[in-house]
Structures are given as C-alpha cells and as structure tokens.
Point group: none
Chain length 212, copies 4
DNA sequence: TATGAATGAGCTTTCATTCAT
DNA sequence: GATGAATGAAAGCTCATTCAT
C-alpha cells in the first residue's frame, strides 16, 4: 500500500519536478561546453527526457539558459540576502564576516562558481542575466561594503585612504580565487583556506589605522 | 619614389600579412560572440577575404582560434618578459612597479583584456592555450613575486604574515578589475586610476611593517 | 473498407518504411553517379524527404551506402541461399541449374546487377561490404560448385582435368555478361538467352567425358 | 661540363615529360579513390608539381582523366594490335594464343587491369572513353574471334554449336579473373596460372569436336 | 612554364524548432 | 504531458578552377 501510494504520488511529483531536472541537466551541459556548443539533445538525454519535452516546458534554448541561471542562482541570492540581513549594524566586523562568507560561497557552491564563469563567457549574449546578477547579488553587497567603509572612516576605525573608498577591493580576492580555480586549477594547485587567511590578513591590516 | 616603392611592395606585403589580418579579424568576431557562435564567414568578411582563403592559411576553426590567441598574446608576452628583465634586483619596489605594469596592461591593451575573457570562457575547449598562457605570462610573474615577497620578509621590509606567502593577492585586483570592466562596465562605472591607487595603497600598506 | 483500413494504416506504415524508401532512392542515385559524386540532397529529393530526414535515420553518407547495399542485397542473398538449399544432392545437374539460376539473377534483378558494379567501383572504399558479399553470396556457391565438381570427378561423370578444379570458371560467363551489360550494352547489343545457352553448352560439354 | 650539359638537357627533357608524369600520378590517385573522390591537389603532389601546373597542361579534371586513360591504355592498344597483326591466318590455334595473350595482359600489366576497373566504375560519366576502349581493344578482338570460330566451324575443326557463335565466352574467363583480382583478391587467393590452364582446357575441349 | 594565393560554389553535417500523435 | 519523426536554415569544410606574377 505504501508502495502503491509512493508510486502514485511518485509520478506526479516527478512530473512537477521535470522542469527543475531539465534545468539542472542544462547546467551541467552548459558548463561543459558553453552556451552555443551545447545541444539541447544532450540536455534532454541527461535529464532522461526527449528534446520535445524541453520545448514543452521552455520556449527555446535561450529561455532554458535564462531559467537555468535564475534557478541555480536562487540559493546564492537567498544566502546573500540572508547574510546581509543577519549582519546589519555590526560595524567593521562586517568586513571580516563578508570575506568569510564570500569565500565559502565560491568554495562550497559549485553552482555559484560555474555560473560566474558562464556569465563572464556569455555576458555579451545575455546582458539581462548580467544585470540581474549585478542587481541581486553584487549591488547590495557593494552598497553595504561602501557604507561599512564610510562608517569606519568616520569612526576612525578605518584609515582615511583611497582604499577605503573602493569596495571592489574587498571582492577582488574572491573573484580572483574563482578565476584561478576555474581556469588554472590544473596547473597551479591552490589552498583556498590559506588564500582566505592571507586575504583577510592583507585587507584588514591594510585598512586599519596603525594605532588600532 | 617612396610612394612608388611602397606601392610596389604593397601587394606582396599585403599577401604576406593576410594570415595576420585574418587573425585580427578573428579576434574581433570571437570577442563579439565567443568561439562556438562565431562564423568563419564573418571572420572572412571582416578580413576582406572569402571563407576559402581562411582555409588556405589555416587548418580549421580551432586552429584559427589557437593561432589568434597566440598572435594577439605575443605583445603581452613580450612586454611581460621585458618588464621582468628590466626590474630585476629592485627589491620590494618591484611590487609597486608590478601593480603599475599590470594595470597598464589591462587598461591599455584591449587585446590582453579580451583574451583573458576568452581564455576563461573557453578554458575547457582549449586547455593547451590556457597552459601556454600560464606558462609564459602568469608563472614567471608568480615566481618573481614570490621571490620578492620572501626577500622582503627576510630583510624585514615586509611583514612576516600569511599575505606575504600568497602572491596571488598581488594579482587579484588587476584580475578583478578586468572582470568588472568586461562584465559589469555598463552597470557600474569604474575609475581605473582610482582603482589602481586604492589597490597599491591597500597592498603596500598591508604588507609593510608598522614601523617601516 | 479495406481501402479505408489501408489508408488509416497508411501513414504509420509509411513512417516505418521511410528508411527503406530512402535506401531505394539512394540506390538509384548511387547507381547513376557513383558514391562520391552522389549528393545526399538528391537522394532526399528522390525519397520525397529532406536532407535532415536522412540524418535522422542514418549516421552519415557512408552509412547510407552500407545499409543500402545490405538492404538491396538481401533478396539476392535469400534467393541464393534458397537455391542452394533446394538443390542439395542433385549431382552434376547442379551445374546446369546453377548456370540457369545465376543468369536469371543477373538478368532479372537490376539491383543484383548494379550492386555488383558498385562493389567493383567502390571496393577500395568499402572493403567490409565486399567481405560480406563474398561471405554470403560467393563463398557458399563456390563451396558447393567445388564439391559438385569433385564428386563428379570421383564418379567419373566429369573429366579429371584442370577445369574441374576451378569453380571460378562456372561463374565467369555470368560475371562477364554482367560487365558487358553494364559497360558495353550501348555499343554491343547482347542476347542474354543465346549467351546463356552458349555458356551452358561450352561448360557442360567441356567438362563431360567423351563417352558420357 | 658534362654535368652542365646534363643539367641543361635534363631540365627541358623533364619538362617535356611533365604531362606524362602528371598522367601517371593521376592514374595512381584515380585508382586509389575513383574519379570523383580524387583531388587534383593529390595528383599534383604525387607528380611533384603544384595544382596550377596541371591546369597549364590540361583543361580540367575530366580532361586529365580522359588523357590518363588514353595514355595508359596506349601500350595495351599497341600490344593488342600487334598481337592481331602477328597472328593472322593461324587458324584455330589463334584461340589458344589469344587466351595466353589476354591472360598475360591482365596479369602483367597493372595499368590494363586497373583501367578496366575504372571504366566499369565510371562508365556512366565517361561514355566516350568506353567507346574508345571498345573500338580499339575489344571490337577488333571480337571480330577476329568471331571470324576464327566461323572458319573453324566451316572447316569442321570446331563444333557447330551455340558456343561457336559467342566469342564473348572466350573473353569471359579473363574478365572474371580481372574482377576476382581487383575485388576479391584479399579474401580468395587465386592462382592465375592454374586459372589460365583451366580456362584453356575448358574452352578448347568444349569447342573441339569429339573425334578431333 | 610554373606557382601560390585566392575564389566561390557546393557538399556533408548539425541542430534548434515544430508538430501530429 | 510527452514523444519521435521531420524540417530547413546554416555552418564547417572541400576543391576545381582562375590568375597575377
């Protein structure tokens, strides 16, 4: 009976998850060969359906890519939002927390890592995706970092210096680590924990005033 | 007379330069749409020749891409080598010089900038190119930075700290700037000079001992 | 009613027969111009489909040729096998029967005739097809002819002579007729029945002992 | 000096032979892959010249094929003519001589053998070549064989029988041997001498009257 | 004579997309 | 919902042919 029930529920539940399964299959294929070289037929095969099924759920290939990026970015968006929410009003300690957080994102979420690569590669073809990513992930973080730096300078907890007006620098090590991992991992082994430690060391020490 | 001579040499010189012209046309097209989506016919049109001509000079599309990256990377390779040669034995001033140099590369050489993007995007399909790039550009720089940091620590001119063992950090701002310029330039205007100034400030201040 | 039923079944049946239809169209085109000069587009047009459809059912042009030869040879294989089965243990009368049979094959089955030409023409490119043809058609016949000749010699119904050890000679007139028909038919009209009669006359008379 | 002279004579002599060299190179390539699949570039490379040179000596690819068949057939034409001339008025011994001659042609002249294959393969595309071949090689032989058989029957040295009116049969073994050698040589080793002996045995015995 | 560069038509093959079932 | 057959536009690549030198 339980089995029967499972079966009965099983099929519709699976059906409801079809689109998601297709998007995950699409992710793997797009990561493997990039947008243009990916064949919808391979996506279908990986998802265990046929090409026609994809067109039942999505309008076309572009739409699959768009939906895929949105679907696979969602957790990252949510975690980022949650991180920002949970770390309001914590002063310059936010800088250290953010470095921890951003490194964890890159290191522990393959989706996040590879989607950045896809966005870099296909930025020209999918400007709207880039916009979305910027709007939902980067911009809020930038704003908060900028605010944190400004507050720190005002409180004299951070040096009044060019670096304090450039929140980009706080993203740089993570971005670079990502590129290193994606592109040069085979030639140049990287120890991400040491990388993070060094980045925190450099950035925090570099921002704090001498007497701090 | 000079004009006549130029004219006379003109045609053969053009013929000899055809492959290079094609590679430059290929660069523009590959940058525009990526490897897979680029049509060799468009490359030909841009170079002012026909498809057949491309296949007279190159074996196939992959070969065009490979040769293109090599050709367009050559100046960058040479400048990098020259920079390393001219800045031997200059102590920790090398760090500052390198930041200046690397930022100049990214900002002033569109080829260097876009080829990095192409390498990131097509790393899976062209692992050999990534190897070459690493070997000729990144690896020598890494080695020198590492040495410089180690020397600086020994001389007590640089703090003995995790950051001093991670030359990656010295590349990070330039890499990140590159990504920002390539991907987010439209949404987030960047002032590269301020960026450089801030990076130098942060890195140098962060590495030097307090009493130095 | 029967017509209606036929009509209703018509469409799916046609779909199931598509590959076969394509192979028959391919036969005509390959016969007309040979393998290399045949355009798959013409094959498609003749079959009433588009180029893409061919690639849905077959891997590539070579595969179309291979399958075509197999498909169109099948009847010949079967008739040959059937002939061998039905003519066991019939002594040297088998020789005469076989001449009748082989001439009928060549004369009445245009497929058999032209496929021989294609195999001759494309033997270098399709060695496997030649192997198959040899294995399924020629070899069994050879074996039986050889056995028949040997038995005949032992029974003194056939002369003990070099010709009795060379079954090739029993195939020769048919092969030659085929070549004449394929190549020289326009210049040299041939009466196949007279040809067969003469061949039987020559071969049988040449093999039988004088007092037989 | 001698060297100089050799050089001086050498070049023009070679130049005069260029077209012939090209035709021999063409033969090898056409034999290898057939007319349509042969690239003039490969012909040129084999002849040690460039594509352009071929077009200096020949109008186009078809012309190369035509000239090649003519050039490479010439010796066969001449030997055939010579054979016919030298064997006039020799009665039915001519039959035996002709079998010897035709087998020798096939076995000892690879050109003759392969050109037959090319004619079979490309008969549709080059009807004029087939005509020429028929006119210069086959027809004269046919006529003579027919005459010889008729004379033999009149003289009662040959049976008055259907086989005596079908000179095709006298060509059959040689034609079949050719096909066997060209197509099935790898699968079915053939002893040409035994084949010839058997053919002569069968044909002559089959044609001669019993009391002869 | 001979060459090498260039052409352009044409071919095989791919694949996003459609649609009857 | 899902499928498989079919399409057709387009892309990579080939190669006979031309021609300035």
């Amino acid at each position: 009976m339980t089995i029967d029930e499972d079966c009965k529920r099983g099929t519709p539940r699976r059906k409801a998850e079809r689109p998601t399964e297709i998007l995950h299959a699409a992710f793997e294929e797009f990561v493997l060969t990039g947008y243009a070289a990916t064949r919808l037929e391979d996506v279908a095969a990986r998802a265990g359906v046929t090409k026609g099924t994809i067109y039942f759920h999505f309008q076309n290939k572009e739409n699959v890519f768009n939906q895929m990026v949105r679907e696979l970015s969602k957790p990252m968006h949510q975690r980022t939002q949650q991180f920002l929410d949970e770390n309001q009003h914590c002063g310059i300690e936010f800088l250290s927390s953010y470095l921890d957080f951003s490194y964890a994102e890159v290191l522990e979420d393959r989706h996040a890592r590879e989607i950045l690569r896809l966005l870099i590669a296909e930025a020209t073809r999918f400007p709207d995706l880039v916009d979305e990513h910027f709007q939902y992930v980067l911009h809020p973080v930038f704003m908060r970092l900028q605010q944190t730096l400004a507050d720190g300078v005002r409180d004299c907890r951070i040096r009044n210096t060019p670096a304090a007006t450039c929140p980009d620098l706080l993203l740089s090590p993570m971005l670079a680590l990502n590129v290193f991992l994606l592109v040069f991992a085979d030639r140049k082994p990287i120890d991400p924990k040491k990388h993070l430690e060094a980045a925190k060391d450099l950035i925090l020490y570099g921002l704090l005033p001498r007497k701090a």
